[in-house]
């Protein structure tokens, strides 16, 4: 996880561990708390979060990462079923 300006953060999710649908679903979940732009590089999904809401308790970026992980794990499990 790499942080930059206070109102904009870039998070990199390794493509072998996170799925794009899982990241998009997490972004939709947090759509009211930040703006998301998803792109890819060689090994990662690169998510730029901006306009992050300061009016909520907790860490929006870190919670978003947890959601992306949980969604990826669930997706992986259901694809095995």
């Amino acid at each position: 996880m790499t942080a930059s300006a206070p109102d904009a953060v870039t998070v990199r999710f390794h493509r072998s561990l996170y799925t794009e649908p899982a990241i998009k679903e997490a972004a939709e979940t947090f759509a009211e708390l930040a703006s998301f732009a998803i792109s890819t590089d060689a090994e990662h999904y690169v998510v730029e979060l901006s306009a992050i809401s300061r009016d909520v308790d907790g860490d929006v970026v870190a919670e978003f990462c947890n959601f992306a992980l949980a969604n990826s794990a669930r997706g992986q499990r259901s694809s095995h079923a």
């Binding site: 990462c65 947890n66 499990r77």
Partner: protein
């Protein structure tokens, strides 16, 4: 050989970074173990060359000893999940068969009973209005509020 390595531990920033060889556990096991910690830490998985990187940040301030214990717990969780994974793989066919039988049984529906009344008499005679709840001889269904009485 150490299966899990503490790369960084900083109690001041409540962060812990672990690494493990990608060949040690399947990716599903890594997911399952990380999932267990989501309620108490922020978790980010990554991969660098032949190692998985697991980054934790506590949701509240934690002491160094607690982080070291968390690393141990994570390793235990990896082992436990690996065993679950193994047991599931070994029994997957049985589980699928049991579920298939259960679903088939449920979807067939319950057949109406066609035995004799002498064997299993009806508890309520639907043809007799004085039997069962139809007549309401005790007035159970009547409103008790005076303003609503007589409206039924």
């Amino acid at each position: 050989m150490t299966t899990l390595k503490i790369e960084t531990l900083d109690a001041a920033t409540a962060t812990l970074t672990l690494s493990l060889d990608v060949g040690l556990y399947p990716r599903d096991v890594l997911y399952a173990a990380a999932y267990v910690f989501l309620d108490r830490a922020y978790v980010l998985l990554d991969r660098q060359d032949s190692r998985f990187i697991v980054r934790f940040r506590g949701k509240r301030a934690l002491e160094e000893a607690t982080f070291r214990a968390m690393a141990g717990e994570f390793e235990n969780e990896l082992l436990a999940q690996a065993l679950r994974h193994q047991v599931f793989d070994a029994n997957q066919r049985i589980i699928e068969d049991v579920v298939a039988v259960a679903i088939a049984g449920a979807s067939a529906g319950a057949e109406p009973y066609v035995g004799s009344d002498a064997e299993h008499p009806h508890l309520v005679d639907p043809g007799d209005p004085a039997d069962g709840f139809v007549a309401d001889a005790a007035g159970i269904g009547r409103p008790w509020e005076p303003e609503k009485q007589g409206t039924e």
